[in-house]
């Protein structure tokens, strides 16, 4: 009984929003775990593996890779999916994501509402825009998804492979990639998104 109460207390504690230093340390721990397990942390290779599994290797050499050797990447992203479900269903924060007032008022100008209570939304995505019933949101999802999938493989890695793993191994190319990520992100945020939402 006592143990059960303690377990509940632990779940309550984990359910609070995490301080950035805790989150950062947890990500470093995942990098350490995967390295210790003999693998290199990088999520976007899973896109290449899925294309390869669908038979793309017969036509393009880029997808001609050893599926068995890469199967762990599929196990990992299935895990990420399950982790997301656990996060949303069992470890939900009592309040929506606490973004800054400056961002909230700027988004108001774009007509994007920020959830004030958890009943209105968790603050993960602007559901008014990004939902399957909104054609504009679906089109943005298609364009954004394509750019991410194309760009990440072109750059040879994404946030995990370059910004976390590459930088942790002190790779200059990864720093160049991260500069590229930010250049693209800033152009989208300050030059293109105002045209879409403004």
């Amino acid at each position: 009984m006592n143990l059960l109460l303690q377990a509940n207390g632990l779940i309550d504690a984990i359910s609070q929003p995490w301080h950035w230093s805790i989150s950062g340390a947890a990500i470093a721990l995942i990098l350490l775990l995967l390295t210790w397990m003999g693998k290199s942390f990088g999520v976007s290779t899973s896109f290449q593996v899925m294309c390869a599994a669908a038979g793309a290797g017969k036509r393009f050499s880029y997808f001609d890779i050893d599926l068995k050797e890469n199967f762990w990447r599929i196990a990992f992203v299935v895990g990420a999916f399950i982790g997301g479900a656990i996060g949303a269903n069992y470890l939900q924060s009592p309040e929506p994501v606490a973004i800054s007032e400056a961002t909230i008022s700027h988004l108001e100008d774009w007509g994007i509402d920020y959830p004030e209570t958890i009943e209105e939304g968790s603050g993960m995505i602007p559901t008014d825009v990004f939902n399957l019933g909104n054609l504009k949101g679906v089109l943005l999802a298609i364009v954004g998804g394509f750019l991410v999938g194309f760009g990440t493989r072109y750059a040879g890695g994404c946030t995990s492979g370059h910004a976390i793993t590459g930088l942790s191994h002190l790779q200059l190319p990864s720093l160049i990639a991260v500069i590229g990520f930010f250049a693209g992100g800033l152009i989208m945020t300050f030059l293109i998104m105002p045209l879409i939402f403004g």
């Binding site: 950062g24 880029y62 603050g123 991410v148 760009g151 991260v178 693209g184």
Partner: protein
């Protein structure tokens, strides 16, 4: 059995991504507008601690579970693919507020539109694989 351990680390990753709020479109937008330290704090901590872990694991030649020594292959020393590919990636990242890891996590959280994002990302990767010989690297 071995794949179960990768599934387990993946679950941990999904939970960490959820609780860190790094999967939040709002957090990514706020980051690109430099209106909060949150995302920079996460990445800064992860890289500083990660660099220490990687340094230590190499210095003390700690063996992996596969019995090998960690031998990270240096990234190819070139610029165009990182800047161009990275730039294209950044455009998409800021628009949908999610990089590859969070796409899976948000789908798990029940945001079905990320199924569209995932399929489109796979089409993007396929397109890259099909035309890569024509691109500057």
């Amino acid at each position: 059995m071995k794949n179960f351990s990768f599934l387990a680390v993946g679950i941990l990753f999904g939970i960490v991504m959820s609780k860190s709020e790094a999967i939040s479109w709002f957090r990514i937008h706020e980051m690109f507008r430099f209106e909060s330290f949150h995302m920079y704090g996460i990445m800064g901590t992860a890289v500083v601690l990660g660099a220490f872990f990687m340094w230590a694991i190499k210095k003390w030649k700690i063996k992996t579970l596969e019995g090998t020594i960690v031998n990270y292959a240096d990234k190819e020393k070139t610029t165009s693919k990182y800047l161009l590919g990275g730039g294209i990636f950044g455009l998409g990242w800021a628009l949908i507020g999610a990089c590859p890891g969070p796409i899976y996590v948000l789908l798990g959280q029940g945001f079905m539109i990320f199924l569209v994002v995932l399929v489109s990302a796979l089409v993007g990767t396929f397109t890259y694989g099909a035309i890569r010989h024509k691109l500057p690297h």
